[in-house]
Point group: C2
Chain length 478, copies 2
């Protein structure tokens, strides 16, 4: 007898923060570690990351980009080579001062991101236009010391991929920035079933050392926004300070253009917050450790025997999916609740009725919709069900985002809207950095992006009244 | 026109160290980094690691072990909880003293291995015999500060997998130690085509904190041994100091048994040193980024057109393999040399003769054996050729190891053998730690292992004359 108890989560509407923390622990995604701000990725949580990695890696390779690996430790002086980069990252880095029993001559930082160490190598590898473009990606852990942390969303150590490319022209580099963002969008939509808004960050919010930063912003169910990935065009001051140059076709020395783009284990947080409900996690099928769970239902030993051989038959039909069977001694009701907590997209109930009538009962996590399928149709129907779930999850999230995007034209409405119901505040904003700070102080909301879809829509700034201001999304954010 | 020049490697026999370093750079496996003792894994080298990871991960998962991820940083006090563990690792760790702009209250070490941080979680997760066994694996980077480093073989940062399991009984734990070692052996034999000797480390050479350590030792072509992986039964003092205990079926509190086992990017070094030759790298097909390279041979544009469409046909036949085509402007001879340097197992030459007669010419990297295949048989013949290569590479390495295993019965022969030709010195040795140190000082050779295959063979120690001594392999080692 399994003695574990399944207690219900605190409802989201009662206490979202509590709900999140309980879910992370109960679904066994992560655990708190003895190291401040760092979490343990438990197998179920780590498996989601592995599946994300696997699929994202496929997209990266398909774009012709190769993986490489650069050192964890970076000389502190590298960070200092680009003024805004060190300003942005210095407050967050962890510093190694001693190694091998000695004090180091130069202190090293644990990478918060790898531009600088990679650029020191680009200087060595790039000489001629024939060496360009050079397009690399790295899967790695990084450390950015955080004061207040939340599992997956904000942790001192996190796992990510960082793409780094170098090009002969700004035009080529900008194409890469866009390509990476489009790749992320495709991934968020199709693999995580998340609706995202793509746009450009304001000057205040851009990456430390970028000409500009593009971003994907997703709306969480509590009305707060989450940045799901970014893609940057880097400042050429990096090329200057790292002495990266190349000789072009006319034998002229030129400064190259660099891009970088990243996505991280934060995406697990996005899944929890955008899809989860009071029953627990709700996983997008493409990154679910189990896409289906078979729950056998029986009372007598004879029933169990019959159910067992039928379950084996069902398993054989679904070998192209990740399926688990729960043979624990818990009651069916307990199992239903446990696997809903763990967010498995489809529950497959097999009892004496199913055995007798050659059926399988499928229950979709997303809406608890139940259907009885002839076992001969199971393979086809399961595939269809998975697609239906993906579509539903995406549509739900898109509809939710639309319903939580509030156009406003003045500060009073901005504030009263956030007091009433949080979400994206959509308005014209001048982009002035000082005013952006003032607005943040007044509303606790930050600019999320200037959506590409509204690029040609200009109007009067809600705050300063300045004409020809761009459409900007604000939100309280993770 | 590609202007790169392909210069020959310094022959191994002339200067093995130079040969190794040149090969690593010329085959673009790695590059030196600005961070002392750390290397850059360039795409070609990293791809080998990715393939190793992919295959090893499959074996690990097939054994029912799940991946997880634990923090990079470990409180220094954790290391100190087990006396021999801290003694072993303290001299090699990198220490973080500052983070987030402040001096830390407790200094943190970058993991040199993760027993301690994982055991702090086992204490939280393990309470009852029902929680056991718990079997986890982690893919991670670790840092062990090294004074003298060599790419892949000894670097301050390296990539590895570390398995960590906890069991109710010593017997179960020992089975796990053996299972992991057998898994590694299978991997070395079948995936890396390496012959390895499995055995137990002496007390001097065992892991810091182990009851005993088992190991796989491979003989490199210069007569030096390389440890390719280890599997340990851990000391129960870990369980005591981390307060890990469980209640057994009789409601008695018990101390559990832990194992750990690891293999790393060192295996790339093993491949270079065990298989490589004066032409360069020789890659085992299962971990080769490209298993075949097609070299088109043509003189006129018309020939090129004909060859091109034929090459496409050949590619379509080999889609289940990793194949690349070299369309660069270099001469065929240059291409042959370049891809031999990069160790591609099979070269496929396609010229006008092949086109005319519906043939493909295959050349095996391992022995330069050339065969002409009817294109209709290509798929089958390529598969056969790959198997042949794997068998040959393994047999060559096994034969080499046998021919470089020297039985001796006294110290003089030990020394004169190593002066004449290096390899495994096979002899009876008492295992006395003090004497082992003396022998190391006299011969520069260390004990590699006590081979399992010779377990029942006891005799007179070559050094002390002590009877009932076990068979022991000594060698100079990486």
């Amino acid at each position: 007898m399994d003695t574990k108890k399944l207690t219900k989560l605190t409802p989201r509407t009662v206490d979202q923060a509590k709900w999140y923390q309980e879910l992370v622990l109960k679904a066994e995604l992560a655990d708190y570690s003895p190291v401040s701000g760092c979490i343990i990725f438990r197998p179920y949580g780590y498996r989601i990351w592995e599946l994300m990695q696997q699929e994202m890696d496929r997209l990266i390779k398909a774009a012709g980009i190769e993986n490489a690996y650069f050192p964890l430790l970076i000389p502190y002086s590298f960070l200092e080579k680009e003024a805004s980069h060190v300003e942005g990252f210095a407050p967050e880095v962890a510093i190694v001062t001693h190694a091998g029993g000695k004090e180091l001559e130069e202190k090293l930082v644990i990478r918060p991101t790898s531009e600088t160490i990679i650029y020191s190598m680009f200087a060595k590898w790039v000489h001629s236009y024939r060496d360009l473009p050079l397009r690399l990606n790295q899967w790695a852990n990084v450390i950015r010391w955080e004061k207040r942390t939340l599992p997956f969303l904000r942790t001192s150590e996190f796992l990510w991929q960082e793409g780094h490319t170098i090009h002969a022209t700004r035009e080529d580099a900008e194409k890469e920035v866009t390509r990476a963002l489009e790749m992320y969008k495709y991934f968020m939509n199709k693999y995580l079933n998340l609706f995202v808004v793509c746009g450009r960050k304001t000057e205040t919010e851009k990456f430390a050392g970028a000409v500009y930063t593009t971003t994907l912003e997703a709306m969480m169910k509590d009305g707060k926004a989450l940045q799901c990935g970014t893609s940057h065009l880097l400042n050429q001051s990096f090329a200057k300070s790292f002495n990266i140059s190349f000789v072009d076709q006319n034998n002229q020395k030129q400064l190259p253009w660099m891009t970088s783009w990243g996505s991280s284990t934060r995406m697990i947080g996005a899944i929890i917050l955008a899809h989860g409900d009071d029953q627990g996690l709700m996983l997008p099928p493409k990154v679910a450790p189990y896409q289906g769970v078979i729950v056998p239902i029986y009372k007598t030993n004879d029933e169990k025997t019959a159910v067992k051989s039928y379950v084996e038959k069902v398993q054989k039909l679904l070998t192209s999916y990740r399926i688990t069977v729960d043979w624990s001694d818990n009651s069916p009701g307990w199992k239903f609740a446990e696997w809903e907590m763990k967010g498995v997209p489809v529950r497959i109930e097999i009892g004496k009725n199913e055995v007798k009538n050659n059926l399988a009962t499928l229950v979709m996590r997303v809406n608890r919709f139940k259907k009885q399928i002839k076992v001969t149709d199971l393979k086809v129907e399961f595939t269809k069900t998975i697609s239906e779930i993906e579509e539903l999850m995406f549509n739900n999230h898109q509809n939710f985002t639309m319903a939580h995007t509030f156009p406003i034209t003045n500060l009073e409405d901005f504030k009263s809207q956030l007091a009433k119901q949080k979400g994206f505040i959509k308005t014209y904003f001048s982009g002035d950095s000082k005013q952006e700070k003032e607005i943040k102080n007044l509303t606790k909301a930050t600019t999320r992006c200037r959506p590409f879809d509204d690029e040609n829509d200009l109007g009067k700034c809600f705050y300063s009244g300045k004409e020809q201001s761009e459409v900007t999304l604000f939100a309280r954010a993770y």
